[in-house]
Symmetry: D2
Subunit: 340 residues, 4 copies
């Protein structure tokens, strides 16, 4: 097939490469002309310098993949496409858009007869090699039309052993892409995927942090009325080699996972991780997952406290902590301790 | 009655003052002779320079209150008392001992026929004036014998309106002290009291922190693929006067409480609390409460996350946070952001 | 002053009674005529049968208090008032509206020159007697005009001792009402108040639940590979009288609070609370508080897990729990245990 | 090598089979003679009927693996072995013992010159086929002596691609077993592994539960003052096929993991999981992980709230929830709602 790609950052460029490797032809655009130059010219890749050019260089019905930052930038591109594309064309928003924006964008485009597919795209910088896991929402017919694109981008069934009990014809899901439902469903499922990701990451991080402090009994114990004493220092005398632990867990354990593989890899390069300060960003999906849980009225304490730990790592509870110290000073006369 | 007091820190000294104001006589000891000198000589207060002296200066059966830091120091004093006191004497541990230590101490003393009462003592630096809330465990007969002491130290029924439905004779609990059960029961109840205290304090602190950031929509919003955007800055344009808010909540609101009174008082003195860094200590009871919940198999997410926020305020998740940043770097190529 | 009251449920009727007791005159309306009949006729209370009548019976500039369920019903009333009232009039929304709706309503009314004050009203069924804690947002001039109303409804300074350091003229906040900022600020502060309320309530509930299970060591301990053993049953042998504990904590303890008073009162009537099944409702503010924390990017684990415990009490994690049991069956061959 | 195996349940029997497949010889014992009969007689497997027989049938220095339920049963076996084995022998505790018990057991055995290795064994019912992940603590020389056993039981390096950057000789950890440190270190690392497992499982379960309720907007919305309204039902109209979602996530996504594989497998067999009631057991390690975090003073909110969700699934917050409903009744006059 022929596909237009808008946005040639890390994700967009890799998608293009994977698509042309799979036999598709791509017309590519980025607001930064250098990004177009860097990619265009290779077999099957045509660079263009405007969205109008992009439309002209694609056969109708056009399929255009948008891979730009979520929020205002994606909205701007989609609004522009509403004026550039024609009825019957298909826009795929492959970024990390909020699923509610998909519903808005979908209405805007459908007024022109253009279809929007929202496509949650998981796989990060490894996707070109491993393939991307794709969760798609929107019009079912448009999905069917664009399916060859998804099939090429996805990892394929051979990326994992088939689930016991699954036999015969290989399903979409087994190939690594899934039509999830009407507009927004793809990004909704991707959003929850990322929420789970936050929880899994925090699970590993909390566990490793407990191992990191397993030798706390070797330190001198403070002993005063305002410090919790460690009653049994003899139980915390272990110097655990955390890099080796993450490696051993990669084989045969219950927590084997890609995130663990990546953690082992990071620790292999840098056992103490001293190049990091521990200020952990979050990029929206974790927040939206929590808001969905709240709206639905279902408990999600693990996903939520995982998110909050990121906020706290950026010192955003500081005023609250001052309030706590102030109360302790008030009722107990306790001064804050200096860092030790 | 006559009472021996061991430990003349803030709490012990104030207890002595409240007891002599209430007509009791105190024989007082501290390992620091200056503390004895500072208190002794006033009407009803006799200073001594050793535990042996203390025992000699009290009529049998003796009642001795121990008010020293929990843990090894308390254990040391109780072991010494086991050799100094006599059968029929009563030791009251009024500190913040772990209730499990009470069981050990109680056995040690009962071998000599000495009774141990464990007494959770709440009230902090305000107790001399307000009275202390007392939760007592141990031998019931010993409790009955020492009751006049507890009655004097406690706030008394007039400290709060009677609970609707309570009529006639005023109960112990209404006077502010309670026999809770066998050895350890008093400190167990006090431990849970402090667990609740952690939760309440954190509730106020989290709420005020949300108010503190209610103007976040006025700040420039970052806009890139790795930062969660604030979709609706127009909803976060409030500059809330937090000192005034804590004051208004003191009257008629559902969250009226002594902790809120103290918070209002702290903010009245220092609206931005800049004298605090936000490193919040914990002194054991919160931890033990969580361990009790775990042992009992009952959920306590509020009390536990309150405790964890204190740990986090002391930067004890730092290695875990580095692990998170390392994973993000691995799968998404994301560098850590600099502080803004 | 004269005030129109729309909505004569528990809250609205009590507000009217407190206002006429304080010398104001009220024109009252409810969509249920019986509610109007029940209240009207007493000194200072005039009943009307439509919003148009209400407007006619009030002198300009009119002050109208809306006390109806938040959401669609409040929006409907405010839309109708936009057509009934005149420029210069003041509408006070005293219900539990989402503060974002205030901003919408305020714009709608200001197109007609009508002012909207959003007023968070805390105090529940006790407010008529204790007074209500009032948090107000909107136009400052409108607030000043309506201040006598707020001053009468609020508890007044004598409801609590003055905060140490506050001297001289008594501030608004000390009287129990506060102008918090522009439109929505009142309900924003009330929202956070309720968030704190959830956290405090859960703190008490978790603590009492730990006390309730303090005798778990008396039960036979299961012993198999799939059940966590209680290593030290000897530490969980306490039969705590929870009613007495809540009573003793009311005097002198750090956690003294109105919520504790109410808990003691409930337990005094019904020590085992067997009339309750433990399905805990939530009414919006707790959810909105969490969403505000998420939007602001600040951690609120205590307030959030308190909310989630309510969701879980209504069995809304059931599918998730089935997933957990299914995983355990998969990797360990563990069947679910029957209830014991 | 020759190995004695004590305990022929699911785990013990599978270990024996894997060991004889790998060329070792096993002398096997179980307190249930039928279990011995079922296994003995096959090539390389000798059944015995007592621990004394076991000792007699093994060449010195003996290596004996204990695979019985943790707690009293393991302690009993180890005490008996202290009298049956001889100096220089090695006991391997492969069960889920609390690492603190290892320290006790180790001292007991070392008085007789017997070495104890504590070996955390992960892999569940799949271990015979996949191999087991082994985390070992104790005397380093004893570990070196028993290493051929561990090497056979472990999955081997081919079970996963080598971590980028690891080259040359394959380390122990890469083969799937690791010497972690002195007595208790193996079970400590296994304990934390299980803590992480709880967090990961809960992450998946919470996420799927959010997907399960993604159609909540299709239900009639209650509208009264005591129920949180769903402001935007239009955003919750998705009927997500959760089985397919777990399948698609298996390839290329960030959350790919063995636990996800198992979840997909469970849902493949039973998409609604109706054979489960959602009462989730816990078997100790999750609790001990939290206690370690508390003792170390490090935050672990994700691992802890994961554990608490299991407690809550067994209705162990019921009394606390009744307290909440009682408070709501007190301050707001709210009756509990009936189940809908």
């Amino acid at each position: 097939m022929q596909l237009g790609m808008i946005g040639l950052g890390r994700m967009g460029a890799n998608l293009v490469r994977r698509l042309v490797d799979g036999g598709h032809e791509c017309v590519v655009y980025d607001h930064n002309p250098d990004a177009v130059v860097a990619l265009a010219g290779a077999d099957g890749i045509t660079g263009v310098s405007s969205l109008a050019d992009l439309a002209e260089n694609l056969p109708a019905p056009r399929v255009v993949w948008v891979m730009v930052p979520a929020g205002k930038i994606t909205s701007g591109v989609i609004e522009e496409l509403a004026g550039t594309l024609a009825a019957g064309d298909i826009v795929i928003d492959g970024g990390n858009s909020y699923y509610r924006d998909d519903i808005t964008h979908s209405k805007l485009l459908s007024d022109k007869g253009i279809h929007l597919l929202d496509c949650g795209t998981s796989g990060g910088v490894w996707g070109r090699e491993r393939g991307y896991c794709l969760m798609v929402g929107g019009d079912r017919d448009a999905f069917d039309e664009a399916e060859p694109i998804f099939a090429t981008i996805a990892p394929g069934v051979e990326a994992a052993p088939r689930t016991p009990g699954r036999e015969g014809e290989v399903s979409q899901a087994e190939k690594g892409y899934l039509y999830c439902g009407p507009s927004g469903a793809g990004h909704f499922v991707k959003m929850v995927h990322n929420g789970i990701e936050y929880g899994m990451m925090a699970s590993i991080a909390e566990g490793l942090n407990i191992l990191h402090h397993a030798n706390i009994g070797k330190a001198d114990q403070e002993g005063d009325a305002e410090t919790a004493p460690l009653n049994h220092p003899e139980f915390y005398q272990y110097d655990i080699d955390i890099e080796q632990v993450t490696e051993v867990w990669r084989r045969g354990s219950v927590i084997g996972s890609w995130l663990l593989d990546l953690t082992a890899s990071a620790l292999q390069k840098s056992p103490a991780l001293e190049e990091f300060a521990g200020r952990v960003s979050d990029s929206g999906e974790g927040r939206w997952t929590v808001i969905a849980a709240i709206d639905e009225g279902v408990p999600a304490p693990v996903l939520t406290t995982a998110l909050y730990a990121r906020f706290a790592s950026r010192h955003l509870f500081e005023f609250g902590a001052k309030v706590l110290s102030a109360m302790r000073k008030q009722f107990g006369g306790h001064d804050e301790k200096s860092p030790t």
